[in-house]
């Protein structure tokens, strides 16, 4: 598990549509973003605004209807192990043990780096559970396993789709710190979808707000604060008010 050079991402005027009940529905409209290598970008927005879709496009799981997505200035033609995804559900393979799940990428690539797998198990703190089946894990542990499954492949970009969305609030706090630590330690580019403003502010170096239907970029805020950040920090509270305002919840504040 060597640290791979972080990936730069360029989303050039991307629009996307889905066919729903025979009608074409535009989901994303004219998204244009440059993501610097090593950044931690939070994609924030109401549900249904197309955040997951944007992430799938970046992963190469789908091709955009129009526009281009470039990774290090090369157009993305499909999914690839330099850009790995972590979903809201751990999506572990139930027939593989924790260790087997973490070794998934190696099995696919046909190489057997046992040491890397063992290090990934330690990295996410799953030592002692490597032989457990996924159904025996708690939600937080399952997400750790999913994280290790991605990290063991030394991805240059990690695309996270509400990875902590289903965890209880205490586990969530632990995992937020963990994610931030791993990002600092491993130096990949992180793009994390979330609908939790506080989470975005605690973790990200940049918050991109997506809103409307179809989704557009309606806010883009750099956060140049070092970790550890404190939730009660006056600057964060100010940013939080701004973002909630952009999302149309000004009256609450």
């Amino acid at each position: 598990m060597v640290n791979a050079a972080p990936l730069s991402l360029r989303i050039a005027d991307v629009s996307h549509a889905y066919r729903i009940d025979g009608a074409e529905r535009t989901v994303l409209d004219g998204i244009d973003l440059r993501i610097a290598p090593g950044a931690f970008v939070a994609l924030l927005g109401a549900s249904g605004s197309g955040k997951s879709t944007l992430l799938r496009l970046m992963a190469g799981l789908e091709r955009p209807r129009s526009g281009r997505i470039l990774a290090d200035d090369v157009e993305i033609a499909g999914p690839g192990p330099d850009r790995l995804v972590m979903f809201q559900d751990p999506t572990l393979y139930p027939w593989r043990s924790v260790r087997g799940n973490i070794a998934l990428g190696h099995d696919i690539a046909g190489r057997g780096d046992r040491d890397a797998v063992e290090r990934a198990i330690d990295l996410v703190g799953l030592r002692g559970f490597e032989r457990a089946w996924p159904h025996q894990l708690s939600g937080g542990m399952a997400q750790r396993a999913a994280l290790a499954r991605a990290l063991v492949n030394a991805p240059r970009a990690l695309l996270l789709d509400e990875p902590l969305g289903k965890l209880d609030s205490l586990t969530r706090l632990t995992m937020q710190t963990e994610l931030r630590r791993l990002w600092e330690q491993r130096g990949f580019t992180a793009v994390m979808v979330t609908h939790d403003v506080e989470e975005a502010l605690l973790l990200a170096t940049r918050v991109v707000v997506i809103g409307g239907r179809p989704g557009r970029v309606i806010g883009d805020i750099a956060i140049d604060m070092q970790a550890p950040r404190h939730r009660d920090d006056a600057r964060l509270l100010g940013l939080r008010r701004d973002i909630l305002g952009q999302l149309g919840h000004r009256e609450l504040w």
Partner: protein, 327 residues
Amino acid sequence: MSGLLAAAPARLGATGRRASARRPDWRPFLAAPAWWLAAFVTWYWPDADDFPETALLSRLLALVGAVLFVAALSGRLHRRGPWAVALGLALAAWEVVQAKLLWLKRPFFGTPQDLLDVFVSDWRRLADSLAHSLALLGVGYAAGALLGVAVGVGLGRAPRFRYWAQPVIRLVGPLPPAALLPLAFVLIPSSRLASEALLALAAGFPVAILTWSGIAAVDPALYDVARTMGAKDRFLVWRVALPAAMPQIFVGLFMGLGVSFAMLVVAEMLGVKSGLGFYLQWAQGWAAYPNMYAALLVMSVMCSVLMSLLFKVRDRVLRWQKDGLKW
């Protein structure tokens, strides 16, 4: 957590053992006397008619009693104990009712010694029939299972294949395979080959449908995960779709095995002149009822053992599942 994981089964095991440790359980020791009673009745009470093998039967019953006694001594007769008692008493009752008192109508109801006599005098032909049945079933079922999984994967993952295959399967699949038997015997010159083809068809249909439904139900996110890591179709089929569909595939394999048993008997009765089905029919033709009971016994043991084997395989393959029906 790993302690917790281990604790549940361990605790289950412990209660059984602790109960036996606390106070010696005398109930397993009832089994041997039950069988010895059957042996004694058989030997001491004169038969109502000239039945064969009475002496051998009583000796066998006594021997089983001895084995059960040793089993009880070594503490290996806890769970099966009540069954061993019941079986011994039932045999004794059967012996009294039929061999000693002749209460039930002959020749439809035989005596235990009639049955034993068949195994003693005709074991060669029974064993031969069993071997033939097993061979026919083995080839047909294995071919059907493999074919079924292959077709199911095609239905689940290849739209073009599905387009052409689905209507055919919808038309032919639900047809009871036995209905095709006369046609198969005409079309395929070897009756053995024809039976194997029909067995394969019988087993293949449920396997194909359940493989398909299993693959259709695979969470697409599982494919996405593998695809982002660079997996190609081969990996997606062999290492994602098939393992994910395995619980359903086993349902199909069980259904297929059941249908195969039925098909086997019909094929052996109507076409192949060998096997347990043929033996049954021969026994009926000669009104050899004890032979019929013997063949039925062999057949039910065969089917039961094969079912158990499949359960064993399933428990091994699906050991990652939360729950599992115990057979």
